[in-house]
């Protein structure tokens, strides 16, 4: 006997909420308050005196901050409504944001970081009273050293790009210390290494040489041989690259660069498919970095703070940003006395809540669990690869016919040629089914691109649902292309004005920037 419930359709009849919700500043009513703080009693006031006058001049505001004035319940409704207008990581099947490793960030870890023991710590309090958190730093450094095979690790960087920057700064310091700073002016990278690598090298003043794939879709080793010289400071390389292709000759790449006296830095932000399977040091790398917010589950947090970690060989350890956490067998302490250190790359010791989350995640899984993460992520990715390649019009350029590690940069070029529909339009239509999809980032060399990275977090059913959505939208592109071209139809907003988002003169991600750029206010 079946239940009297109508079966659900294969694809969801999703509809996003649309509240036409004003910005919180527009909801402000002068004098409206969430909490009315009682005035101090005269006795207290007399005893304390003018607290504001006691503050140093420089920290006293001449005018009160322009905060919205609004009652608690209205604030709550406001943010709940906004949250309903969002396709967040906890709401949708977030495999469409390839290169970002959108995995589950366990809720129990939020409870851990919200305990007063952690939340009430102050970065300037005495070491003796912060032994617990120092031990977490110390332990996590050692775990990441073991995962990468490196000798020392620093957790200071607040993001992946920041960790790449840290590595480039160490490379520069290393060559300078050897008297080769002026001579080694070039950094080599590959076109499908994450663009942060080239960007950080450029920021540091290096000339950047890029290598394209060879005819088989792998980084061209002969181009590397032609690129290296006594000017080479380093190779910065991602592996697997953002195409999901693993460079099987990575050890040779490293050896070629070492052969001319350069260093090799491994962008391990794509480590989710190789945890416990291979190590940066095994391929001879001198430096590497991880994104804790990708591989080790900590939230991406809408652009930060995230967390990066840099690992180095013993030879480069003196250059790590400081201070480093040390253990004398009895106490954990901070070692500030590191004359060759590149110095600080962030305030204090790193993004502590994320360090604790990553620590908790690794401890919960153990070594075998980490390997199971990698194996599951690779299996999920290759299952989805098969499902996507079964959709007419979809392809996976480069290294055709090979399996990928943890993500794939796909292309809708064939579908585009046949229907005129672009990848971007497909992404907007996918949102109508309640799933997120992005066309991903630089370099824009794969035509009509999309990048999917299923991680270990999603079930087979969920991957099937995502693939079914793509297949449906591809079918629509052929049969009713205008439905796709005019999407989204079931979303909070229809289309946004692109120029406003692309033009630094006009874009505004804060209220203050909006008032400044559009109304000339200078608060």
């Amino acid at each position: 006997m079946s239940l009297p419930i109508a079966p659900k359709p294969r694809l969801r009849r999703f509809h996003q909420a649309r509240w036409d919700e004003p910005i919180i500043f527009e909801l402000s009513t002068p004098g409206e308050r969430g909490v009315l703080v009682p005035r101090p009693e005269p006795k207290v006031r007399d005893a304390v005196g003018d607290v504001v006058a006691a503050l140093p001049e420089g920290v006293r505001r001449p005018t009160p901050p322009r905060l919205p004035e609004i009652a608690q319940m209205r604030v709550l409704r406001h943010y709940l409504r906004l949250s309903q207008q969002n396709l967040g990581a906890d709401l949708n099947i977030d495999v469409g944001q390839g290169t970002c490793t959108m995995k589950y960030s366990p809720k129990v870890n939020e409870a851990v970081i919200n305990t007063p023991k952690l939340a009430d710590l102050h970065p300037l309090q005495a070491e003796a009273s912060a032994q617990g958190v120092l031990e977490v730093f110390w332990q996590l450094e050692r775990m990441l050293a073991e995962i990468s095979g490196m000798d020392r690790v620093s957790l200071h960087s607040a993001a992946g790009s920041a960790a790449i920057w840290t590595n480039v700064a160490m490379i520069r310091a290393y060559h300078a210390a050897r008297g080769e700073g002026d001579q080694r002016t070039e950094v080599i990278t590959t076109i499908f290494s994450h663009p942060s690598n080239a960007a950080c090298a450029e920021m540091a003043g290096y000339d950047v040489i890029t290598i394209h794939p060879d005819a088989d879709g792998y980084p061209d080793i002969d181009a590397l041989k032609a690129a290296v010289s006594d000017r080479t400071a380093a190779l910065l390389i991602t592996n697997p690259e953002d195409t999901g292709i693993f460079n099987p000759r990575i050890r040779e790449f490293v050896d070629i660069v070492h052969g001319v006296g350069g260093l090799a830095a491994y962008d391990q932000a794509n480590a989710n498919g190789i945890l416990g399977i291979t190590q940066a040091r095994a391929a001879g790398f001198d430096l590497c970095h991880f994104n804790l917010h990708k591989t080790f589950s900590t939230p991406h947090a809408c652009g930060g703070p995230a967390a990066g970690a840099s690992g180095v060989s013993a030879e480069l350890a003196p250059f790590l940003p400081g201070p480093l956490v040390e253990y004398d067998g009895d106490h954990f302490f901070l070692d500030h006395n590191r004359p060759q250190s590149i110095g600080k790359v962030a305030p204090f010791y790193g993004v502590t809540p994320n360090i604790v989350r990553a620590y908790a995640w690794i401890r919960a899984l153990g070594a075998e669990g980490l390997r199971a993460v990698a194996e599951t992520a690779v299996l999920n990715n290759n299952y989805l690869l098969k499902r996507v390649l079964d959709i007419p019009g979809a392809s996976a350029p480069y290294a055709s016919g090979r399996r990928r590690i943890e993500q794939v940069r796909y292309s809708w070029q064939e579908l585009h040629e046949q229907t005129g529909v672009t990848s971007e339009e497909i992404g907007l239509r996918v949102a109508d089914f309640g799933a997120h999809y992005w066309t991903s980032h630089h370099p824009h060399v794969v035509p009509q691109p999309f990048t999917l990275e299923p991680t270990e977090s999603y079930s087979k059913d969920e991957l099937d649902e995502y693939a079914d959505i793509l297949a449906e939208v591809a079918r629509e592109a052929r049969e009713t292309p205008d439905v796709v071209r005019t999407a989204p139809h079931n979303q909070t907003v229809h289309h946004t004005h692109h120029d406003d988002l692309d033009d630094p003169e006009r874009w505004a991600i804060t209220w203050r920037a909006y008032r400044r750029k559009h109304f000339g206010e200078h608060p």
Binding site: R18, I191, P195, A198, A199, E202, Y206, D207, V208, I209, T210, I211, H212, P213, D214, A215, G217, D220, D222, A223, L224, A226, A227, Q413, H416, E417, Q418, T419, G420, V421, T422, S423, E424, D432, W438, T439, H441, H442, P443, H444, V445, Q448, P449, T480, P481, D482, V483, R485, T486, H489, N490, H494, H495, H498, D502
Partner: protein, 398 residues
């Protein structure tokens, strides 16, 4: 707000505004392709193709493009030339074509040129043309860098950068143009290849000129990065990379192509579109230099040729810049060439090497290997270079 996914909202594909779409078809374009004739130029070839049973397909492809336009804008008016030059295609696509270019049809390139001129004079601001590289050349002769144009691929060869990737994409772009979704144009190279040479196995693509095509500024382009938002910006970036490498007291032989034009703009000198200009310290010493002028420049002290990738084939030497001969290159000696191009241009080669064909095999061999291509200030790409010995051109331009 739209209740169901299948109902179309009025916006953003609103009714076309004041824009005018034009169409010209080269009725014999592509006729030689299926017959294995590598092109359709010349009355003999066309007759031979018909004898081999070929039928013209340009009209069919123009119809495919127009059907896409009608689907989005039923009843839109298209300005055309008469009969086989466009009105037939419009009628087959169910569009009320307004014939503005009348006049006798001779079955020659002059038809295309005349029709394109008349359509331009009639106020058309986007001209679709169905044909191949030869047709693109005629369109260039007719409108130059005036109104925007877009090729519906229908020829045998389409190496020029002014073609949509398919008829449907051409139609979609045209509809977007009418709707104001695409509203700016950027320049694109028109190439042509001597078909006689391809038939005998020696391809000679050359840069013919530039036209303006609708510029699609996709969301895929500029997200999350400070990377150039458009192809034009990428070209400027590559040119800027070259400009900071220029040394005082050195003569530079600036070759043809849009990238070199951008470099000349940065230096503040005029540029001969299809020729070489000798430039030193911000001054043109010799405009449109021929081989002997280049030899003279090379003999006069430090000197380097600056070239870009010509066309979709990857030639950096020997196509469209033959003035830079083997003799000149030998006179320039070591570091004879600075190659400047966007990473996009390199990626479009799909892993195929850059090509050098100086006419001197020993020199081509010496130039082969890997070359540094300047892609921006402080950035370059190391890319393979070969002589085109076994290189064959894909002539199936469908």
């Amino acid at each position: 707000m739209t209740p169901a996914p299948r109902t179309l909202p009025a916006s953003p594909l609103a009714a076309p505004g004041t824009r005018r779409l034009g169409l010209v078809v080269n009725p014999v374009a592509g006729i030689g392709g299926p017959a294995g004739l590598k092109g359709s130029d010349g009355a003999d070839v066309q007759a031979q193709a018909v004898a081999r049973g070929a039928t013209p397909r340009a009209t069919a492809r123009a119809v495919a493009a127009l059907r896409t336009v009608v689907r989005i804008f039923p009843g839109v008016e298209v300005f055309t030339a008469g009969g086989v030059l466009g009105a037939d295609a419009a009628a087959q696509a169910g569009l009320p074509g307004r014939v503005v270019a009348t006049g006798p049809v001779h079955g020659t390139a002059a038809d295309t040129v005349r029709a394109a001129r008349e359509l331009s004079a009639a106020g058309v601001d986007l001209l679709l043309f169905a044909g191949g590289d030869g047709t693109a050349r005629d369109i260039h002769d007719a409108v130059g860098e005036g109104i925007a144009v877009l090729g519906i691929p229908a020829g045998v060869k389409m190496y020029s950068a002014c073609f949509a990737v398919s008829p449907v994409v051409a139609g979609t772009l045209a509809a977007d143009w009418l709707a104001g979704r695409v509203d700016s144009a950027s320049s694109a190279d028109v190439l042509d290849i001597d078909e006689e040479a391809i038939r005998t196995g020696q391809a000679e693509p050359r840069l013919y000129g530039t036209v303006r095509i609708p510029r699609v500024q996709g969301r895929t382009q500029a997200r999350k990065t400070a990377a150039p938002a458009s192809a034009a910006a990428a070209v400027r970036r590559a040119a800027a990379g070259a400009s900071i490498l220029l040394r005082p007291g050195t003569r530079y032989l600036l070759g043809p192509g849009g990238t070199m034009r951008a470099l000349a703009e940065l230096i503040g000198v005029p540029k001969t579109p299809l020729g070489f200009d000798v430039v030193e310290d911000g001054h043109v010493l010799h405009a449109d230099a021929d081989e002997s002028a280049l030899l003279a420049a090379a003999a006069g002290g430090p000197c380097q040729a600056v070239v870009t990738v010509i066309g979709g084939q990857g030639f950096i030497l020997g196509r469209g810049n033959q003035q830079l001969s083997a003799r000149v290159l030998r006179a320039l000696g070591k570091d004879a060439l600075m190659v400047v191009a966007t990473d996009d241009k390199l990626t479009e080669l799909g892993g195929r090497p850059l090509l050098v064909d100086s006419g001197d095999p020993a020199l081509d061999h010496a130039l082969s290997g890997y070359t540094r291509v300047v892609t921006g200030p402080g950035t370059s790409t190391l890319y393979p270079v070969r002589a085109p010995e076994h290189h064959s051109i894909d002539t199936d331009g469908t």
